[in-house]
């Protein structure tokens, strides 16, 4: 079976390879066979080609390297040259592939007819498109509007020019999770239009006010890297200390769970807490003298925010506030982050950073930042215009406003008023459902595009493969349409996006110096142009002390909080099966939406676990099963965003409920009435117990012990030597092994997504996850300390659990057919073709990392095109598991062989290791003590441990203990 399947997909891949020659290619759509008439020098069958490009899954704009085999991109990897991703990705980035190959992608143009959408030829489609545009433009100025997600400089330019050609400038970029409040605050407090760049790694203390910077806020991949550095113990004042991090917010998000302290506030109280911290600073005189702050104004501002009173108002303990103040004020450099939509908070945080002299150190404004995106006001203006019937043609290219637009905007009514709505995109969503015309556009991996996430970073996205469907680049469509609209050549000089991008980069090139061809060559190889930025000198605008508006009181009674989902983001991720199947890091739930309720609240509501709760706000009503957990502030109902799609493809539709429909405003909080409906829907998680019963799977050590150099006390009796039953085997060439730092691991699951992509793991769906048939080779072990131990442990203990490739692997000898055996390089290998499926190996695996194919794996076409041809697809009835990405090991070893050199350290990187944004995992050769992997073990002797060491199976994965700050200590 497995052979058959992989062969089939291989033929497909090989067939399409010819087309890869045409990169950047156009017609024909390459899903029909093209033999190698002219072999292409770029494409050596069986060898991957790598193209640098940029990720567009979220505004962070990470640089990517796309691994392409026979003309198909099969894997996305971080671009090491890129200052943002530094060679890492997040789970969303990995899953971008599943949009490229998404079975629900629009296969061709569609025009709405009497009975639903009818497929049309491009000519007809474009004729209709341009026709409506023409009439609209004749009807007058600004009769055409354009809404899209962030497009990047060039495409924005194209869009604006195109609008111009039709006499309109109703150009709006719409990003629901855009940090508008932050921009306002930046303007108010520092008079800046751009957002600051944060250097968390430079800080010694951190307070995040609702900024979930490890999952969705800002630039998560970059922040992961910085936070890992931040949390690495450093010598401060001659003592080894752990930088203190505090999270203030209603929900214990993944970020909160990795902080030392989670200060649970009601939504909206963050500002009060921030000001109270400020109060402490002022009182203690921890305000930096030279920051030129008007201290009296400041005092006046914070006078009402005595910790005691704030504590009394908000239910936050005064000690916590004091601790925050202390850690913030005492440390040489600190950073405070604001994540909510409350301007008051942002101002307070700006002041916090400013008065402690951290602006310019950890919070840096840089010259030459990107042009600001549209503000909510712009969006509202457009919607009003639509509602007023002032718009004849609306072109939506992403953003999915119908799904996530604040209810108060009545966008749905407004769009109804628009005569002609054209939707341009990849996978039709709720907005596409109400359009009259739907035009398939290329995925960003299939077309030229560029990004400027922030000053000094110009990402260049080149098409890494020929398109899968009969789609067109958005830019090309608009340019063609512009010309059809009679745009002059001097206004719109280019024929296609490629030229446009090329042109746009000319002046960058001239700035960089050298010939443009060299520059162009270089930026295409590096995936962009990266330059050091000089920090702008900014000072706090004294006005904001007066301009301060008191924080809105949190809604009396229950409040619903929309929590951006680490995988689904605002909802765009929901149709990617990997993201549905990979459990959300903290709750570990899959394939569903839920409302997280504190036990006390649940009791007062009469809700029990999995009981369906009806949430009703002035804006709308939804129903979701309840997740009872201590990790949410009482009185708060936390609902993850992104689920509840009705028209966004087979994987997304009908899962959970859409929390946006509860929010009338741009914020993420609303007063809510909740009642149990009495129905029950099981929330499913691949994990069973959340406490590890002192089995030392994810071990911890307090920073004090680490500083003292003593191990946490253990009453485990040790068996007297000698106890080795068998003589050890030697591994002459290599002994592959891994080091995992539980302190850096946040549980973000990028490794899991990468593994799905690299090793052709198939998703099984909710029902099978529930009965333990999930196929992930690597999972995040997530444990919470028991209540009585809470002070002596971090808030959450996470570490990736994968095959430990034990020297004395219990799984091996029990296999009757040698399907599981040890290689000469220390790998525990699973030979699928030999496996008969007795499943004894899994029974005897103490780590439970083996996965059995209960059914024949299937991929909805064309998702199968993503399959990695180097990894065989397993058939039903065989066992499979982590192979340390043996295909990559072999690849590296072959290269080394060809180049007649030993394998370099770091040359082999399993997908998980490569993806990890906080570089928690290191892979290398145990025989080589110089290898980074071994060095990491040697440098952290005290933190080394083996999971379940007492059974002496000799795992080759060494873990490093998670470090925690004993509670109640600054």
């Amino acid at each position: 079976m497995s052979e058959g399947l992989s062969r089939r997909s291989f033929i497909k891949l090989a067939a399409t390879a010819g087309a890869a020659a045409a990169i950047p290619g156009c017609e024909p759509a390459a899903r029909n066979l093209i033999p190698y008439v002219v072999p292409d020098e770029n494409v050596i069958p069986g060898m991957p080609t790598f193209y640098a490009t940029v990720c567009t899954e979220c505004p962070a704009g990470c640089g990517l390297v796309a691994r392409v085999r026979e003309g198909r991109v099969i894997k996305l990897e971080g671009n090491p040259a890129d200052p943002i991703s530094r060679g890492s990705t997040c789970a969303r980035g990995q899953a971008a592939l599943q949009e490229v190959y998404n079975p629900d992608r629009l296969a061709g143009p569609q025009i709405r007819g009497q009975n639903g959408f009818e497929t049309a030829s491009w000519d007809d489609a474009l004729k209709t498109f341009n026709g409506h545009l023409g009439t609209a433009s004749k009807a007058g100025k600004d009769r055409v509007a354009f809404i899209s997600g962030p497009l990047g400089p060039t495409q924005t330019k194209i869009a604006q020019l195109w609008l111009g050609a039709y006499g309109s400038n109703r150009f709006v970029t719409y990003e629901r999770l855009a940090d508008n409040a932050a921009r306002v605050a930046a303007k108010a407090s520092f008079g800046r239009d751009d957002l600051p760049i944060y250097h968390i790694d430079q800080a010694d203390a951190l307070i995040s006010f609702g900024a979930d910077f490890l999952s969705t806020w800002g630039s998560p991949v970059e922040f992961h890297r910085q936070y890992a550095a931040f949390r690495t113990p450093k010598q401060r004042h001659g003592q080894l200390t752990l930088a203190r991090a505090t999270y203030v917010g209603p929900l214990m998000t993944m970020t909160a769970a990795k902080c030392d302290e989670w200060v649970a506030t009601s939504p909206g109280d963050e500002a009060a807490v921030a000001l109270s911290v400020l109060n402490v600073l002022v009182k203690q005189g921890w305000v930096s003298r030279n920051s030129g702050i008007d201290l009296d104004a400041l005092r006046k501002l914070v006078v009402d925010f005595e910790p005691a009173s704030v504590a009394q108002k908000t239910g936050v303990s005064a000690e916590s506030i004091m601790r925050m103040g202390e850690s913030f004020g005492q440390s040489e450099s600190a950073v405070a982050l604001a994540g909510t939509d409350d301007p008051a908070l942002h101002n307070a945080v700006a002041i916090l950073n400013a008065v402690t002299g951290n602006v310019g150190k950890t919070v840096v404004f840089a010259e030459g930042g990107p042009a600001p995106a549209s503000s909510p006001a712009d969006v509202e203006a457009l919607v009003k215009a639509m509602a007023a019937g002032e718009v004849d043609v609306l072109v939506v290219a992403g953003g999915n406003p119908v799904f996530s637009m604040p209810v108060a905007q009545k966008f749905n009514d407004a769009i109804g008023k628009v005569g002609f709505v054209a939707w341009l995109g990849t996978v039709p969503d709720e907005t596409a459902a109400v359009a009259h015309l739907r035009l398939p556009t290329d995925h960003s991996l299939e077309t030229w595009h560029d990004t400027q996430p922030r000053a000094g970073v110009h990402g260049l996205g080149q098409p890494v493969m020929v398109r899968v469907f009969d789609s067109r680049p958005l830019g090309d469509l608009l340019l063609a349409s512009a010309h059809a609209g009679g745009a002059k050549a001097e206004q719109v000089p280019w024929e296609n996006t490629a030229d446009a991008v090329n042109a746009a980069w000319q002046d960058l090139g001239t700035k960089a110096g050298g010939t443009f061809d060299d520059f162009w060559e270089k930026v295409r190889r590096d995936g962009g142009h990266f330059e050091d930025v000089k920090a702008a000198s900014v000072s706090l605008d004294a006005k904001i002390f007066q301009a301060y508006v008191p924080a809105p009181q949190p809604p009396a009674g229950l409040a619903v909080v929309a929590v951006p989902h680490i995988f689904f983001y605002d909802g765009r991720g929901a149709n990617k099966p990997w993201l549905q199947e990979i459990p959300e890091p903290v709750t570990q739930l899959v394939w569903d939406g839920w409302v997280q309720v504190h036990p006390d609240t649940a009791r007062s509501l009469g809700v029990s676990q999995n009981g369906i709760v009806e949430l009703r706000t002035d804006a709308g009503v939804i129903s979701l099963p309840a997740l009872i957990s201590e990790h949410v502030r009482p009185g708060v109902l936390a609902v993850p965003t992104g689920q509840g799609h009705t028209a966004y493809g087979r994987y997304a539709n009908g899962k959970g409920a859409n929390v946006w429909s509860l929010l009338s405003g741009w914020g993420k909080v609303a007063a809510v009435k909740a009642r149990p409906t009495g129905d029950v829907r099981r929330l499913v998680s691949p994990l069973f117990r959340a406490d590890q019963m002192e089995r030392g799977i994810v071990q911890t050590i307090s920073i004090d012990d680490l500083a003292k150099g003593v191990l946490p006390p253990s009453d485990e009796p040790v068996p007297p030597q000698p106890y080795e039953m068998y003589a050890p085997f030697a591994y002459p060439v290599h002994k592959w092994a891994m080091t995992v730092d539980a302190n850096s691991c946040t549980g973000c699951s990028a490794c899991v997504a990468a593994c799905y992509a690299e090793n052709n793991l198939h998703v099984v769906g909710k029902d099978y996850v529930e009965i333990g048939r999930v196929m992930s080779w690597i999972r995040v072990e997530r444990y919470f300390p028991p209540k009585d131990k809470a002070d002596e442990a971090p808030l959450m203990q996470v570490a990736p659990m994968l095959c430990q490739h034990c020297d004395r692997a219990p799984c091996e000898p029990v296999c009757p057919v040698f399907a599981s055996a040890h290689t000469k390089e220390g790998l525990n290998q699973q030979i699928y073709n030999r496996c008969v499926g007795t499943r004894y190996c899994n029974n005897n695996c103490p780590y439970k990392v083996r996965r059995f194919n209960w059914s024949l794996p299937e991929w909805d076409e064309p998702l199968n095109l993503q399959l990695n041809p180097d990894v065989s697809v397993r058939g039903a009835g065989v066992m499979e598991k982590c192979s340390f990405c043996i295909q990559r090991i072999t690849y590296a070893e072959l290269n080394a062989l060809i180049e007649k050199r030993p394998v370099r350290d770091g040359e082999v990187q399993p997908a998980c290791v490569q993806a990890c944004p906080s570089k928690a995992m290191t892979f290398g050769d145990e025989d080589d003590p110089q290898s980074a992997m071994m060095q990491r073990r040697i440098d952290n002797k005290l933190r080394r441990y083996l999971v379940l060491e007492e059974i002496n199976v000799g795992p080759n994965v060494t873990y490093l203990r998670d470090i925690y700050q004993t509670k109640g200590k600054a």
């Binding site: 994990l687 069973f688 117990r689 959340a690 406490d691 590890q692 019963m693 002192e694 089995r695 799977i697 099978y768 009965i771 333990g772 048939r773 999930v774 999972r779 072990e781 997530r782 444990y783 659990m801 219990p810 000898p813 029990v814 296999c815 009757p816 057919v817 040698f818 030999r834 496996c835 008969v836 499926g837 007795t838 499943r839 004894y840 899994n842 029974n843 005897n844 103490p846 780590y847 439970k848 083996r850 996965r851 059995f852 194919n853 209960w854 059914s855 024949l856 058939g875 039903a876 009835g877 065989v878 066992m879 379940l948 059974i951 199976v953």
Partner: protein
């Protein structure tokens, strides 16, 4: 008391014995064929479900990580266990020159054969890719790739196949004189059949001479074999490191458990058979009494093992071990454990009373309980330990599926069908050995029925 059913000849001759046994082998009536048809239907249902499972893969079962073994392996162990008593009675008691075995050993041994035949199905049924089951066997292939002889499952393969072979040979050898006996009176196709099976046996001194020696030696070989086979089966689990599986006592403990359940099954079959076929004059209360004693003994051994196992878990003070046993007693499947304790340790204690040992109905009920208890014992050990493994995050409890249940029922039907067929067409009671020990039979009859008659 059964004696009332028909008056019993307390002083039987060789001829009487022949008459009684030959009477069983009269062509059966409609009710018998209905019974067979019913069993056949159930068997076919099971077969259909299996076919479906092979076609669709194991997703049709309720299995999942971490409970990768549940009902199928439980059935496997259960049926292998059932088999053992047969060999015990026919071989071990033969070596001990136990006098009461003669009347019951053929039935027990027949049960052995068919139980092994049933048990042997399950390892194949539970495989992920059953069509490759022969990879467990060392067979010539050009890569000279052979099974891993370190694997308990390979041992299993050898043990089970050896066991099936040896007990069949033993059974066949013992059958020959009896088949020769019925050959002489049979007619039609039966005559031909018996003639072939009997290999032309005539009971000449020379034949008996070699026969007896071979029979003795086969018994001698079968005796340690019984120990080894169920030990190997127990090592399928004990070799693992899994708490609840890894325990040195497993080998003898499983053997005892096997004989326990097996003898119970012998009685479960014999008591109705004795009643339906009217064998009171061959299978006397004395026989039942002794069988019951074996059950009692093995029940005590099994209880001893439970106690020692639990004690060691506590003595070791290993938290993981402790938790496993805690879950075993009080976890979601705790009730199974207590059912097992009730059926295997408590209820059999009734057999201390001689009256219960010899009165068929209570005895029958007790044996049913024992069968249930022993099935649950295997399930508790196999699935229960898997469900609560080293990784708390990976615990999960299994839910049954139609397929698993159906195949289980089918297996029972298949076994009963084979047994019922044999009971009517072959001498289910050894005439030869009854005659050999006729003195004991007479004593037993007098002891059992003198009062009643």
């Amino acid at each position: 008391m059964a004696a009332a059913v028909k008056d019993i000849n307390l002083d039987p001759t060789f001829a009487d014995i022949d008459r009684s046994v030959r009477a069983i082998m009269e062509p059966p009536g409609l009710r018998y064929w209905l019974w067979i048809g019913f069993l056949l239907a159930l068997t076919l249902t099971g077969g259909a479900l299996w076919t479906n499972q092979i076609y669709n893969g194991l997703q049709v079962t309720g299995l999942g990580d971490p409970v990768m073994w549940a009902v199928y392996i439980t059935n496997f162990v259960f049926w292998v266990g059932i088999a053992h008593s047969g060999t015990l009675i026919s071989a071990i008691l033969y070596l001990f020159r136990t006098r009461w075995r003669t009347a019951v050993y053929r039935a027990a041994e027949t049960m052995t054969i068919f139980a092994v035949a049933t048990a042997g199905l399950f390892p194949v049924i539970h495989l992920g890719r059953p069509w490759f089951f022969y990879w467990l066997a060392p067979y010539p292939n050009q890569r000279f790739l052979q099974p891993d002889f370190r694997s308990p499952l390979t041992w299993d393969f050898f043990a089970i196949s050896t066991y099936l072979t040896i007990s069949s040979l033993f059974w066949f050898t013992g059958l020959i004189p009896d088949v020769a006996n019925v050959r002489e009176i049979a007619t039609g196709w039966r005559k031909k059949f018996y003639t072939i099976v009997a290999l032309g046996w005539q009971g000449s001194d020379r034949q008996w001479r070699h026969f007896s020696m071979a029979y003795l030696l086969l018994a001698g070989l079968a005796t340690p074999l019984v120990l080894s086979v169920h030990s190997v089966v127990s090592w399928d689990f004990a070799m693992g490191q899994l708490p609840g599986w890894h325990s040195t006592i497993f080998a003898p403990y499983f053997v005892a458990g096997a004989i326990f359940s097996g003898v119970a099954m012998v009685l479960t079959l014999l008591i109705p058979m004795r009643w339906v076929m009217g064998l009171e004059d061959l299978i006397t209360p004395w026989h039942l009494d002794n069988l019951a004693k074996v059950i009692l003994l093995t029940s005590l051994v099994v209880s001893y093992s439970y106690i020692v196992e639990s004690f060691m878990a506590w003595y070791s003070q290993d938290p993981i071990e402790l938790m496993t046993f805690h879950m075993r007693y009080f976890g979601p499947w705790g009730w199974m454990f207590w059912v097992m304790v009730a059926c295997n340790c408590v209820i059999p204690l009734l057999l201390f009373s001689p009256r219960i040992r010899t009165s068929t109905v209570p005895l029958f009920i007790i044996t049913i309980f024992v069968n249930i208890g022993m099935w649950f014992e295997r399930f508790v050990i196999i699935a229960g330990s898997l469900a609560t493994n080293f990784e708390p995050s990976q615990w999960r409890f299994w839910h049954p599926s139609i397929t698993e249940m159906g195949i289980t029922v089918g297996a029972f039907a298949w076994f009963l069908m084979l047994f019922s067929l044999f009971a009517r067409f072959m001498p289910i009671i050894s005439m030869t050995e009854l005659k050999e020990g006729i003195t004991w039979l007479k004593q037993a009859l007098r002891q059992g029925y003198a009062k009643a008659a």
